[in-house]
Symmetry: C2
Subunit: 347 residues, 2 copies
DNA sequence: TTGTAAGCGTTATCAC
DNA sequence: GTGATAACGCTTACAA
């Protein structure tokens, strides 16, 4: 253990019989310091292996050069991609990233916010819990001048900074494509009613059907709690209709995985008897036999890195003494339909 | 913008005409402070919404209550699971986690280490780059009393703290199982020669074949650069042998995905004409038609959370004034073969 | 029971 | 050109 304390500016000062301020200035090439002194200081600094203690500087500056990211669940590829987006943006701005997984628990989310506040992050990026419907824990941060930018799962409020994704564009492409392929009966396997996303998907689904002059048939709209057993029940309900749909929009990829299993169990063939299109997109679909026809790409990386840019803008603006009041930073990215190359069952 | 500065201990002191130390003590229920004073202090603190500025405390304590995690690539489910393991362990110890992805670049790894050192993390958890073969950048941390624990991808050195996974146990189970199923020709699709993991897998493969009294046939050992085209070439080489293997051990799941594609292209059937077993394990195999027979589970979460425990032990020990010199903390977890339920092609 | 002062490492302000 | 001092917010001997 090299328990010898790290050299400080004072240590150097003492060795040279100069003041700490002189050392500090010398090390910063302050013009007022004589060349000789500067050289002597540098030499000793070098010898001692001196390096400025940034934590002291940060403390003085009242900054941490760290931002916090709160996401629901890293095991979802969507969010790990998002985290990478944040990290890349942060690196470019010389910021560090501390991370917290809310695991879709509102209580955890609150706790993480609190903890990050205690650590005085310079800002926060947040993708909300499914449970979150109140936002005081974020409002509190104003007091600490900690700006927040939300992404993807954003509050239903207008007075916030956010980057989100518009699902309509991708869905419209998807349904239009299905129609072009001849599909007339397109079902919807939706999520639990209490989720905002569920209502949203329903509305979009209906809107896009209408745009394609298709009728909305309530029998073809089913929902699931997202539990596996329930996913199976939902798809089976569709399949057992007198006139089952020939295609279905699915709440997300995890639900879809179960749907595909169920279809196979009945002996039907995915992409022949029934085609799927789902939200989000697992990176491995392209390797799978029964991949959906397409996914609605929601650009995790793009959303999160843009949110990070926003955040750094806010941070800089707050630091600027003659900053004018910043307008809200808000952006919506259009989703896009991404087709998978040649679902194998069709070949 | 609530630009009014946050209340400090001084502010409270001023209001009450007492000293800052009194306030500090009162807020900590110091026994020497009179009840009345304590109450008055608390009241004002309450009114002002005072909260201790932890960054100041941390600075004084010369601690950050933050650890750094360096991993190659979050898009690999293995590492995002590992990160979750760290986060869970950290939460239990009231620590924060800052994250850095080396993206398998040695230069990036060095830079991240440097940056985390500047931020004075209390310790680091590291899973090395494929490129890393020198360790000065970690040795430097001793100077700053920043302990390091490696996990999964650990240095080839004995004087370090680490948690790793022993591949032999799982591989032995796997090959034994293949043999029990009647397989006599078991190939190996290995990685690039420059990776330590490649040599390791080769040795284990040979060892396990021998344990099962099977001959080692050089023709059945192929390798790939991990690039897609190369993966295809490797599997095709095996398939085009006069006597192709009936089973193969594959370097990792990503290589295997390509192998499966290739097998299908030739019209052969996975799990009938050829079976696979691979290292690591993608969370979605169980949903796939042509899943490998089994994966060698390497316990990302367990490794990383145990590494985190080690780290906290080291941190505590270093903080303890009368700490005896800590012995190295090292642990090896046995890998295990994990079978997938009923590969569908066989049903 | 309370106040004073020093200290964590650095920098900015003012004085000489 | 360089030095002293204060300040960031807090804790803790040591005094009183």
């Amino acid at each position: 253990m090299s328990n010898n304390k790290l050299p400080t500016i004072k240590e150097i000062a003492k060795r040279l019989n100069v003041s700490a301020s002189t050392v500090s200035r010398a090390l910063h090439d302050h013009p007022s310091i004589g060349l000789v002194t500067t050289m002597r200081v540098r030499k000793v600094a070098q010898e001692l292996g001196y390096e400025a203690n940034k934590t002291a500087i940060f403390f003085k500056e009242r900054k941490t050069y760290t931002i916090g990211v709160i996401i629901p669940d890293l095991s979802e590829p969507f969010f790990s991609a998002a985290l990478t987006g944040v990290e890349d943006a942060a690196e470019a701005s010389n910021y560090n990233v501390i991370i917290g997984q809310s695991l879709n628990s509102f209580e955890r989310e609150k706790k993480i916010v609190e903890n990050m506040k205690d650590h005085r992050v310079d800002g926060m990026l947040v993708s909300l819990t499914k449970e979150t419907s109140t936002y005081e824990h974020f409002d509190n941060l104003k007091r600490y001048n900690i700006p927040v930018v939300f992404f993807d799962r954003v509050p239903s409020r207008k007075d916030i900074n956010y980057v989100a994704c518009n699902l309509v564009s991708g869905m419209l492409q998807a349904i239009t494509k299905l129609v072009a392929m001849g599909h007339k009966r397109i079902g919807l396997i939706n999520g639990p009613a209490k989720l905002a996303a569920t209502l949203q998907r329903l509305e979009i689904y209906i809107k896009c059907l209408k745009e394609n002059d298709l009728p909305v048939d309530q029998d073809m709209i089913v929902s699931t709690t997202l539990a596996k057993a329930d996913n199976l029940k939902a798809i089976n309900k569709l399949l057992s209709l007198e006139q089952p749909p020939t295609a279905a929009i699915v709440f997300n990829d995890y639900v879809l995985l179960d749907c595909i299993s169920a279809v196979k169990t009945t002996g039907l063939v995915v992409n022949k008897d029934i085609s799927f299109i789902s939200f989000a997109n697992l990176p491995i679909w392209e390797y799978m036999d029964s991949a959906p026809l397409a996914s609605i790409e929601q650009f995790a990386y793009k959303q999160s890195s843009m949110a990070a840019e926003f955040l750094f803008k806010l941070i800089k603006n707050a630091a600027d003494p003659d900053s004018t009041n910043m307008p809200l930073l808000q952006h919506i990215i259009d989703s896009e339909m991404v087709e998978y190359s040649m679902p194998k069952q069709i070949l």
